[in-house]
Each structure stands twice: as structure tokens, then as C-alpha cells.
């Protein structure tokens, strides 16, 4: 191999503390190196042209660039090589900026170290081989998991882009958390009026196939060709027949069923439709409360149903969907605030969550838009809002900011004033976080126009006094302890990863953080990608987000899917593991440890052998370090390539 070495000054970024000319001179002595030079900015257009010229002039068939981190410019230079007609993998970078010039000023040591790094890169490059992608066809349909606003947006954008969409929602209706909200900030628009049309679009879109009351059971396959098993949970109602007329709900005698949609503020019928605008508008029986199912009595619903849709014997059903990409939009759940003893730990009925308050405010809620406190149904006059309940609190394992609570609390103080003009809102807060278009103005309006009393400080306890509650806290700005009599306390409960998120992550083979939020591909540059090809994220499943951010991510994920599907064939990353069939003894250890199920056992002339499914392999190399005889080698990071680097700097 004829290697060219290009040592970049990066202006003075490198040259300032590294003698790049000396590094180039030293490189000339390394095996394989036939050309070495220093260059002002290797990544600039003239810099790249210089590399191309040198490749042509010196007939180079391998290039080392010593400059910044490969995480920055490796793709750039690989393209440069391709433009010069070389395979993109006949390239190595020596990171002499982030790892050398920027972390110390000792010019001698830096120069020496840089030369070592070039030596290692050149030694590895000598073992590099051209790698070529393989093409495989794409199934141009997408599954969106989660029918909240992010999922709805992603599904609609994809469907409008001409893709077949399978939308899977675990509840009986789509709409998610947004459907439960009364109004949205900062415009105080009616939430369901905004969301409703989108939900209808989903229902009516010819490209969208909605599986409500369903969950992901199993995921197989890989980008372009996923095979996903979906569990359609038993609703005891034949949804093909159900028209959503509601007669069954009306006649059902069992009224004690938990009303999840209304955040348990009320109870509902054993057979119910969560809210009038539900999509799909289908009835479901809660078997725990159905007398027919529990005691084989009643059966009224079946009798009254005009379309004979009731089926008490229905079982979970499994269907398989084949899609080319997946958008995870599973949203969030609320923190279980009852761990806070100081807020009563759940024993005061008049301490409620912000989402319960939303239901209370909503005209379609259990109190039909009237604020009535749960204990006695009275209209509260003094409402205390407590911020950061399960946010920014290490003591409960939730050190992060949930982001949207400051804003919805401001909204709720405004709505409180609207509903009860003679009321007074008090807000205990830590900091007000309102970075967003018209957000800060909105909180100011809550304080200034609506007279909300903002107290900067934490609440140390809530205790009952007569029918009311006393909220004791600190006012850190005044440096004083305050006690406020409250008719109702609303806790701004933070967001946490939705129940079951980690299970889904494992099925999708994506990572999640310590709190169960899904990991994006890159915190800055790949906010909706994951590290599993073909799996994207939208909305709060990646971290707490407000509605516009969730919608934006829904669209972003859709654009990624549409981009992916703009090609008929996908190219696999050739940095995958390859089995040397001559060396493989078929022990199966690689199969056992592959996190992606990318290795399968094959029969080769009567012998067991391992075989890598290129399209599934993600290139982690666990198999390579597991295989005792080195028969499976991760391309571009083979044992010999790594050993070459070791040998380049450690020779006894």
C-alpha cells in the first residue's frame, strides 16, 4: 500500500502546539508511507483538493489525515477519497487536535505524540481493506408506536408523504396526554379543538391503519424490513361491528369502573368510550368491573347492542405487520408524587395533580368545566400551585427539569381566575423556566394581569386545618417562612418515562437513559434518530417536551422516514462482522452474545457454522471479542487491525 499522510495545521489550532512539519517528516519513515506533508486546513476545499492531487500524483492507495477528531471530519475525508477514486475505508485519521494540541502546550511532547498517532493510523491502514456496501430492498411502510400528538403528527406526515402507516396505540383512543388537556399555552386555545381534527384525519386517512388498544409484542428484522408482532388486546367488543353509538354505555349498570381518562377523578361504566371525540370511537369492557365477565350475570350491553358487537369471550389477538421503519412516540407518564410525605403522600383529597386539574377545568371533564374540590365539591378560592414535584429533585431520583410545568401552571392560574374571578392563585416555584416564543410574556401575564402570587421557594409541608389545608413554605426572596391557607393544592407533577418504555426499548434494540427515556442518536445532531437504523423517536419518549416540540419531532421523524424511503434500495454499512467459514467451528458463542440477533447458525456441507446477517449487524464487535479462534472478525476493526495499532507503539 502507498500511504499519503496529511498533517493539518488547523490554522494555529494544531500548529500552535504541534510541529506539524516535524510530524510529516517523521511520518515519511513509517512503513507504507510514500508521501507526507503538512497542510493549512485539510478539510478546506483547497486542502481536500491537495489530497486528491497527491493521491493522483503519487498513486496513493491509502490516506492518513492527522487533524481533528474523526467524529468531526471522517465523513468529509472519506468523500474526498471517493472523489479521488479510492475506497472510503482506505482512510484513517489521527486525532492530533482534541487529543493532542488542545490538551497541552508541551510542543516536544505533543509533536512526539502526534507522530505516534500517525504511526498507529498508518499501521492500521496497512491492514485496511476496501469495503463495499450491499444493496437491499426497502418495505416502504412505517409503524408509529404511540398515538399522542407526536405520533399523530408523524403518522400524518408519513401518510401524506405517500407511505403506508401502521399506528399502534395502547389505549382505546389516540390523542394521548394532549387530549386530556383543557387549554394549551401560551395562546389558551382549546386543546381538543386543536387536536380533534388531526385525530379525525388519522381515522380517515387511506394510508393509515390504526391499531388501538394494541401493544408491540415482538420486533424482528432490520431497517427496511422489520417484522413486528402486535398484540391487539381483548376489548370484548367486536370493533368491526361497533358503531360507537354509546347505547351500551348508557345501559351498563356497573358504574364503579376506574376512569383513567379523567385521571381517576371520577368513575365510569364497566363498558365505556373514554370521551366523545375518541378515535376510534369504540366501546371497551373493563373486565374487572363487568358483572357478566366477573359473575356471569347481567349481559345488558349485549342485549342492547344494535350491531351485536359484544363478545365476552374475546381473547388477545396477535397480528404481524411488516414495515421498513419504526417511529417510537410513546410519550411520558406522570411522576408518582405520593412519595412526597410533605405533600400529604396522597392522604389529602384536595391535593391533586396538575393533570387532574386539567380534567377539572375541561368542559368535557367529570365536573363539566366547574372547579370543584374533590373533598366536598366546593369551589375553591385560594388555590396553591406547587412547582417541581418530581422534577429537579435528586432526592426522588428525578434531577431533570420536566420543562413544561412552569408554563402550564401559569396557564392554570389564568384559567383559575377565568373560572373563579374572585379566586387567588399562589405558586411556589424554584425558577421560572419559560424559554419559548411568547412564553415568558405569558407567565408575566399570569402574574401581572391575573394576579397570581408567585413565591420563590419550596414547600416544606401541607397540613390540614379544618376543611382547608395550610401550605407552609419558604419565601426565599423575602427570606421568610410563609403559610398559606389553601382550598385546593395543585401539584405540578413532572414527567417520567412512560410505563413499559424500557421493555419496548429492548424489543426495538434501542438504548434508554437512567430514567427510561429513549436515547437519541446524537444529542445535538441526531435528535430523532436512534442508534438502531430505521428506528426513530418523536415526542416525550425521548425526554419531557411540550406540544410544539413534540409536534416538531413528529414531523422531523416523519421526514427522516421519508428520506430513508426516498431510495428503493438501502445500502448496508460494510463495517459489519464477517465469518471466516474455514476457521469457524460452529460453537455458537457469537450467536449467544450478539445483542442484535444478527448471527445465525447455518449448515455448511454438514457442519454447523455461524453466519452474519449483514443488514442486522450493527458493528459492535462483541462477537469478535467473544470468538475464541477469531473466526468472526468485525470489518475495519479486525483483531489484526487493532493489534497493528498496538504493535506500532508497543514493541517491547
Amino acid at each position: 500500500m502507498k500511504i499519503g499522510v496529511f498533517v493539518c495545521h488547523c490554522g494555529t489550532n494544531i500548529e500552535g502546539t504541534v510541529d506539524t512539519a516535524a510530524v510529516a517528516a517523521a511520518s515519511r519513515e513509517f512503513p507504507g508511507v510514500v508521501f507526507a506533508t503538512d497542510t493549512m486546513y485539510a478539510c478546506s476545499e483547497p486542502g481536500q483538493d491537495g489530497i486528491i492531487e497527491a493521491i493522483k500524483e503519487h498513486k496513493l492507495d491509502g490516506v492518513v489525515v492527522a487533524s481533528c477528531t474523526p467524529r468531526m471530519h471522517e465523513p468529509t475525508f472519506r468523500r474526498t477519497l471517493e472523489r479521488a477514486g479510492l475506497n472510503r475505508y482506505l482512510f484513517e485519521m489521527a486525532n492530533i487536535r482534541e487529543h493532542v494540541s488542545w490538551i497541552g502546550k508541551d510542543r516536544e511532547a505533543n509533536t512526539n505524540k502526534s507522530a505516534d498517532l500517525v504511526r498507529m493510523a498508518a499501521a492500521k491502514l496497512l491492514k485496511n481493506r476496501p469495503l463495499f456496501s450491499k444493496q437491499f430492498p426497502v418495505n416502504k411502510s412505517v409503524m408509529v408506536v404511540g398515538g399522542g400528538v407526536a405520533g399523530i403528527q408523524a403518522a400524518l406526515d408519513c401518510a401524506n408523504g405517500g407511505l403506508k402507516v401502521v399506528l399502534v396505540e395502547k389505549d382505546t383512543t389516540i390523542g394521548g396526554k394532549m387530549a386530556k388537556l383543557d387549554k394549551t399555552f401560551p395562546t389558551v386555545d382549546c386543546s381538543s379543538c386543536v387536536l380533534g381534527p388531526l385525530m379525525v384525519d388519522v381515522a380517515q386517512h387511506p394510508n393509515i391503519n390504526l391499531h388501538a388498544y394494541s401493544e408491540i409484542e415482538e420486533v424482528n428484522g432490520y431497517v427496511g424490513n422489520f417484522e413486528i408482532k402486535v398484540k391487539k388486546k381483548a376489548s370484548y367488543v367486536d370493533w368491526d361491528a361497533c358503531t360507537g353509538c354509546g347505547l351500551c354505555v348508557e345501559k351498563c349498570p356497573s358504574r364503579k369502573a376506574t376512569d383513567f381518562f379523567n385521571e381517576k377523578l371520577a368513575t365510569t361504566k364497566a363498558i365505556n368510550i373514554p370521551f366523545p371525540q375518541a378515535i376510534p370511537k369504540k366501546a371497551k369492557i373493563d373486565p374487572d368491573f363487568c358483572m357478566k365477565i366477573q359473575k356471569d350475570k347481567c349481559g345488558v350491553c349485549a342485549k342492547v347492542c344494535p350491531s351485536e358487537a359484544i363478545d365476552f369471550t374475546q381473547k388477545d389477538e396477535f397480528i404481524t405487520e411488516n414495515v421498513g421503519a419504526v417511529v417510537a412516540a410513546t410519550g411520558f407518564d406522570l411522576f408518582d408524587w405520593t412519595v412526597y410525605g410533605q405533600y400529604g403522600g396522597g392522604k389529602y383529597p384536595d391535593v391533586i395533580t396538575s393533570l387532574q386539574y386539567e380534567r377539572m377545568l375541561s368542559a368535557s371533564g367529570p365536573s363539566e368545566g366547574h372547579i370543584k374540590r374533590p373533598s366536598d365539591g366546593k369551589e375553591p378560592k385560594n388555590v396553591v400551585f406547587i412547582q417541581c414535584v418530581g422534577s429537579r429533585d435528586k432526592s426522588v431520583g428525578r434531577p431533570y427539569c420536566s420543562g413544561f410545568c412552569c408554563m402550564y401552571t401559569a396557564k392554570q392560574t389564568i384559567l383559575t381566575k377565568d373560572h373563579i374571578p374572585d379566586s387567588q392563585s399562589h405558586v411556589f416555584y424554584m425558577d421560572i423556566r419559560s424559554p419559548g416564543k411568547l412564553y415568558d410574556e405569558f407567565t408575566r401575564r399570569a402574574m401581572e394581569e391575573y394576579g397570581a402570587n408567585y413565591i420563590r421557594g419550596r414547600v416544606s409541608m401541607i397540613y390540614p386545618k379544618g376543611d382547608n389545608l395550610v401550605v407552609r413554605g419558604a419565601d426565599t426572596l423575602m427570606g421568610a417562612q410563609v403559610e398559606i391557607d389553601a382550598d385546593l393544592v395543585v401539584l405540578a407533577v413532572g414527567a417520567e418515562a412512560s410505563v413499559g418504555a424500557t421493555d419496548l426499548a429492548k424489543k426495538l434494540r434501542i438504548s434508554y437513559d437512567a430514567y427510561g427515556f429513549f436515547m437519541e442518536g446524537h444529542p445535538k445532531l441526531k435528535p430523532v434518530e436512534t442508534n438502531t437504523a430505521g428506528v426513530y423517536l418523536a415526542g416525550a419518549c425521548q425526554g419531557p417536551k411540550d406540544i410544539p416540540a413534540s409536534v416538531a419531532q413528529g414531523s422531523a421523524a416523519a421526514s427522516k422516514v421519508l428520506g430513508l424511503f426516498s431510495q428503493d434500495m438501502l445500502a448496508s454499512d460494510p463495517q459489519v462482522s464477517v465469518v471466516d467459514i474455514k476457521r469457524c467451528i460452529g460453537c455458537g458463542k457469537c450467536i449467544q452474545t450478539c445483542p442484535f440477533g444478527a448471527i445465525k447458525e447455518i449448515d455448511f456441507r454438514g457442519m454447523k457454522k455461524a453466519d452474519v446477517i449483514e443488514t442486522i449487524c450493527q458493528g459492535c464487535g462483541i462477537c469478535t471479542s467473544t470468538c475464541p479462534q477469531g473466526a468472526v472478525q468485525l470489518q475495519h476493526f479486525t483483531d489484526n487491525q487493532i493489534l497493528a495499532e498496538v504493535n506500532a507503539i508497543c514493541r517491547f
Binding site: P628, Q629, D639
Partner: protein, 319 residues
């Protein structure tokens, strides 16, 4: 051994259904046994089972895959069979296991140390407590406890952990795990330089014959071992102690969580390098961290082939 006749009977009954039964018979002198492949009825008569039957016959199983094989196992050997089953390197339905209660085998090196010249053995009598050796006309009465293989002195599995036939009564053992690793602990307590120097000296006489590897029942790569391959190129063929030592670490590492500690590697070494120490060390740590021993449960997973999100015994290194 009083169970020998039972064992022979069991083998005789099973042989018609099997291609071969592997046992032991007398070797080149009365002090040595050798593996014995029983194909015919008359071969059964030559079967020998006593304290000289040191070989772990499980070593032969992987390469005989596809044949119906019977195998006579000591307790320790049976662990290798279990481990091979666990790793699906052999098929349970093809292997018939003949177990017996084992009272331990000798360490030929220890005998050599005491007797000196073992070049001319006239006779050898083995009983439960004694080995009577006549060498070049001189009689030596060796207490079994003095010549017992180290692994047997602290054996916790004297009976086959898995068998289809079992001859004689089971042997009880009172040894604890710790008993078996006193040598490791003792060696480890030495200063680093002393240990380092010890291995430089010991490994230097390695002739790279790879008897350690080929005698090992768990070394199933054999013909494809990295020791001689160029791709990957882990080792040079130079006769340098570095490469010889590196190979032993490779061996120990490839056996981590798989080694059943039969000691065949060390026994096979023609120049008596104490390489079992590496494997024992690894086993000791595996036990400590993962509470795992290889070759006990055919359904278990070797600890380095799996993980827990929260490890019980690995404290995250605050580094």
C-alpha cells in the same frame, strides 16, 4: 476397585447400542494407564479403573460428534461433559455416561519426585490408601495422601454430576471451595516481582507443543486455534517467553467460566509448567464475582457470555 466388575457389566450391556466406549487400560508400564477405546466385547476385559486413570476422556467427545459414544468418567471428568453439553458441543442423546465414585487419582509428578527414577517400574499396586511401586528392584510404599493429585485432595465432586449408569456407591466429600484454592492464595501473596520472575523462568522452557491445549476438554478450536494463525496474528512463532506466556493467558481467558479444572493442561505438559494456576485463579474469581462454577448445570450460561444490568459483585470503579 470393587466397582470395576459392575462397570464392566454396564458397559457390556450398553456396548451393542454404541459405536465405542472410552475407558482406561494399562499403559506402557505398570505405573501408567492409557485411554482405552472399547469397540468389541473382548476389549471390555482390559478395562482398568483405578487411581492411575488420570486422563479426562471428555477431551475426545467433541471430535467424535455424530457417533454414539459411551464414556467412563470420574467426578471431575463429568463436569467437562456437562460443560460440553451446556455449550452444545456434544449431543446428549449421543453420549452415554458411565459414572462411579472416584477416590482420586495420582499425580505422576509427585511419584517421580519421591521415587526418583521411574524409568523401570517392575510393578505397581494401588489401594485406597497406598501406592506400592517397585522401581528398578526397589520397593516404595507411597502413602496415597502424598501422591494424590492436588485436585483430588480437595475434590468436591467425587461422583459424576451427570450419568446414565453409576457403578458402586457414591463417595462423600467434605472439602469446601476455599480448600481448593489455598495454593492460589498463597502464590498470590508473593510480591509482584517474584511472581513475574517465576513465570519468566517457568514459561521459558515451554516447547509450544500445545499438549495443554489439546488435552483440554474445553479447547474445542484445536485446528483453528489462534496460537498458530496469522489472521488473527496474536502470537509470533519466535521462541520468546513473551509469546509462550501470552498463549497461556489466552488459554486461561478462553476458558474463563468454562474451565472445569480437570487439570489436564498441567498434567499433559511434558515439561511440567504449573499452568493450572492460571485457570484456577480465573475460576476463583469467577466464583467470587459470579458465584458460578462450570460444568455443574447443563442449562446454565457461562458468566462471560451473559451479563446483568446491575452486577451484584462488581462495584463500579470510580475512576
Amino acid at each position: 476397585m470393587q466397582n470395576l466388575e459392575d462397570l464392566k457389566e454396564q458397559v457390556r450391556k450398553a456396548l451393542p447400542e454404541l459405536d465405542v466406549v472410552i475407558g482406561w487400560t494399562g499403559g506402557y508400564d505398570p505405573l501408567h494407564a492409557t485411554p482405552h477405546f472399547i469397540r468389541r466385547d473382548e476389549d471390555i476385559d482390559k478395562l482398568q479403573v483405578n487411581a492411575l486413570c488420570v486422563h479426562n476422556l471428555a477431551t475426545y467427545l467433541p471430535s467424535m460428534r455424530g457417533k454414539k459414544v459411551g464414556i467412563i468418567v470420574k467426578g471431575c471428568d463429568s463436569r467437562s461433559v456437562v460443560e460440553l453439553l451446556q455449550e452444545k458441543l456434544i449431543d446428549r442423546e449421543d453420549v452415554t455416561i458411565f459414572g462411579f465414585g472416584c477416590t482420586g487419582v495420582v499425580d505422576q509428578t509427585k511419584i517421580r519426585r519421591i521415587v526418583g527414577d521411574v524409568g523401570n517400574i517392575d510393578s505397581c499396586e494401588v489401594s485406597g490408601s497406598e501406592v506400592k511401586v517397585s522401581a528398578s528392584g526397589t520397593e516404595h510404599k507411597l502413602a496415597m495422601s502424598d501422591v494424590l493429585s492436588e485436585k483430588c485432595a480437595t475434590c468436591r465432586y467425587p461422583n459424576a454430576v451427570l450419568s446414565d449408569h453409576f457403578a458402586g456407591a457414591e463417595i462423600t466429600s467434605t472439602a469446601t471451595f476455599e480448600d481448593g484454592y489455598k495454593d492460589v492464595v498463597e502464590f498470590e501473596e508473593k510480591p509482584e516481582e517474584e511472581k513475574f520472575g517465576f513465570w519468566l523462568k517457568e514459561m521459558d522452557r515451554c516447547i509450544r507443543c500445545y499438549a495443554c491445549r489439546n488435552a483440554c476438554p474445553m479447547c474445542v478450536c484445536r485446528d483453528h486455534c489462534v496460537a498458530q494463525s496469522r489472521d488473527p496474528h496474536w502470537l509470533s512463532q519466535e521462541a520468546h517467553v513473551r509469546d509462550k506466556w501470552m498463549f497461556q493467558v489466552i488459554h486461561a481467558y478462553h476458558l474463563a467460566g468454562r474451565c472445569t479444572e480437570c487439570g489436564e493442561c498441567q498434567r499433559a505438559c511434558p515439561v511440567d509448567i504449573p499452568i493450572l494456576l492460571f485457570k484456577k485463579k480465573m475460576n476463583k474469581e469467577i466464583k467470587e464475582v459470579f458465584d458460578y462454577e462450570a460444568g455443574i448445570n447443563p442449562d446454565a450460561t457461562p458468566p462471560l457470555m451473559t451479563f446483568k444490568a446491575e452486577e451484584d459483585k462488581i462495584t463500579e470503579r470510580k475512576w
